[in-house]
Amino acid sequence: MKSLKKFVQGRSVVLLITSVCCFSFLTLYICIGNNNNLITTNNNNPPFTFSSTAMGTYINQTACGKDAQTACKCALDSIKSLEEKLSWRIGSSDVARLNSSKSGDYIQLSKETFDVLSIALDVAENTNGSFEPTILPLSNLWDFGGINQRLPNINEIKSVLPYVNYKNIAVDKNLNRVKLLKDNIKLDLGGAGKGSACEYAVNEYKLHDLEYGIISAGGSIGLYGHKKNSDPFKIAIRDPFSTDDTSEFAIFNVASGFISTSGAYERNFTQDNKFYHHILCPKTGYPVENDLMSVTIYHNSNGTLTDVLSTACFVLGKEEALSLLDKYNASAVFVDKNRHVFTTGIFKNNLKITNKKFFIDN
């Protein structure tokens, strides 16, 4: 050990220790430099998040701004009051009153209900009834997601189909009133409600002058304002093949506006090896059978429209949906059963696939 002793006493040990120290500090410095948690400064205003239920679904809000908390609560209140007007399940709602009215009698509607119904009827007209606000007798028969969910027999379906026709609704635009032209016509505006809810929430964010606000109501999204550094919002689209509702297949950037998705995965059941999902074709009375798995719609200002169009485009199928999208100035993402993804409008060159099993096929 003589050499070691000599070594220890020598100058080289000082050199060794110094170099070890230098090396360590250098590495440490690089580590800290790479560590985002240590060098980034926190944003001044942490976002406020607020989860609740309404319209039979989860409502999640994220808001940033001085009045974020109040804005979210007001948004929830206005969604609940919208539900009380739109839901056919609530006896005092506009829709329930209309559904129980005698044919020929005008029913006075609130402006909110009237606006939603107008959009639904407009899309019904432009799709020749592929979207049907009068679907309730049929959807009640199947009762997807309800306690009476079952496969109806063909006679039952045939017996309700004559009542599924939007042409039996007559609208008086000047007085916000509506009458049914036939008995047993029953409306269901559920296909527009969540998109509409997003619009009401965004309106509250605007009123409370938030920096930004994000509302998600059962798969429909409303976006308001700007994030820090004017970064766009990053929105994911759910993987329609996964049973996990947090699993996505793609993300896209968007500045503001509304998004809705309709998919075969939402409410469904399998009987005798046949898969039945909740998007019904108003003409056949059976779930839509085409190659689509999901349709996502974007519109810059109309949330109700995105919700209605997502269902309408799913029923129509990709080819026929394209002209409809053009007409309403909306953009779409179609996902088919082979995981081929087709994009239009704002989604083109913007949608980023995150699940390698999917690919863009424009």
Binding site: V8, C31, L223, S247
Partner: protein, 124 residues
Amino acid sequence: MITFKKKDILILLFIILFSTLFIALFHLLTPLGNIAIIEKNGEQIKRIDLSAVDSPYIVEIDAKYSAKILVEKGKISFYEAQCPDKLCKKYGKISRKGQNAICLPSGIIIRIENSNDKIDSITG
């Protein structure tokens, strides 16, 4: 016969202490990850934002040997596994970027990522 002098031991201790400290520091300074990705047979089946976990919960993954995965705020671990070797549980709770926990027999992999691509919302 090698004999150590006091000074020899001192310098050895110094080196050991320093390297231990250094490794610990290196580990501590690896950024925490915010996203846990669960893969089954190479396919991503779940993506969990660990920073958004309020209270711990268990995710059950149905595989050749099914496994229960414990998700906590900022960390994730194999909690119960049906696999024969139970090696996956030995990974413990992982929380840092680049760490992973693997259950080979069942084909389940948990990875931690640090994503700045934090999603604002999901539609569907």
